[in-house]
């Protein structure tokens, strides 16, 4: 079946603008995760959803970052008033259920460049 998809593939924006990144998980996967990969770095966990709820938002870097998930499917990560340090690849993953035994499957990511 189809894997995790993300859009846009690449996004270039100006400092101070808002951006929305979209993630469409694998059908039937109830858990959804957002990670950030900065240049030369590993992946940094941002937030996860179980269904439509996000029990732990502590990974979000600042209050300019927010995420929502509706209908237990598509999720949107919003970054307000973007800064240059927000430039990174944002990866989304999904898993069948909300437990560590379920493998996380990743999308191709959105490369965000803030000028």
């Amino acid at each position: 079946g189809a894997g995790v998809s993300q859009s846009p593939s690449n996004k270039v924006t100006e400092k101070g603008k808002d951006v929305e990144l979209r993630c469409d998980p694998i059908s039937g996967h109830t858990a959804l995760y957002w990670y950030r990969q900065s240049l030369g770095q590993g992946l940094e966990f941002l937030i996860y959803f179980q269904g439509n709820s996000a029990p732990d938002k502590s990974g979000l870097p600042s209050d300019r970052f927010s995420a929502e998930r509706t209908g237990g499917s598509v999720s949107t990560l919003t970054i307000q008033r973007t800064q240059q340090e927000d430039s990174a690849v944002y990866l989304c993953a999904s898993s069948l259920a909300y437990q560590s035994t379920d493998t996380q499957y990743f999308g191709p990511g959105t490369r965000l460049t803030v000028l």
């Binding site: 894997g3 858990a31 995760y33 990670y35 030369g40 770095q41 590993g42 992946l43 966990f45 996860y48 179980q50 732990d56 990974g59 690849v89 990866l91 993953a93 909300y98 437990q99 560590s100 035994t101 493998t103 996380q104 499957y105 990743f106 999308g107 191709p108 990511g109 490369r111």
Partner: protein, 116 residues
């Protein structure tokens, strides 16, 4: 907090040869899972292999195998008969077992180059 360390930023291997990528981790927990993910230039993270900490037997997937040393907190990946398509960034990752342990902790990666 758990940490994952990959001490080899870059590795190279001749095609058809064998290469081993190193990973160490730090945790106080006894139940957890370890992973190797591959990230080619397409950016998509692809699961290569997974190891449950409670299993003594090392996981294998075709040409990929791991050397899991729980006491030493070491989890290396061996790629046999290296192929050009194996060229990628490889990330080692850790996740605790149980509910409420939802996030993967990643190392900083090893860039693997295959020499034809």
């Amino acid at each position: 907090a758990q940490t994952v360390t990959q001490s080899q930023p870059e590795m190279s291997v001749q095609e058809a040869e064998t290469v081993t990528l190193s990973c160490t981790y730090d945790t106080s927990e006894s139940d957890y899972y370890l992973f190797w993910y591959k990230q080619p230039p397409s950016r998509q993270m692809i699961l290569v292999i997974r190891q449950e900490a409670y299993k003594q037997q090392n996981a294998t997937e075709n040409r990929f195998s791991v050397n899991f040393q729980k006491a030493a907190k070491s989890f290396s990946l061996k790629i046999s008969d290296s192929q050009l398509g194996d060229a990628a960034m490889y990330f080692c990752a850790y996740i605790s077992d149980g509910f409420g342990n939802e996030k993967l902790t990643f190392g900083t990666g090893t860039r693997l180059t295959i020499i034809p």
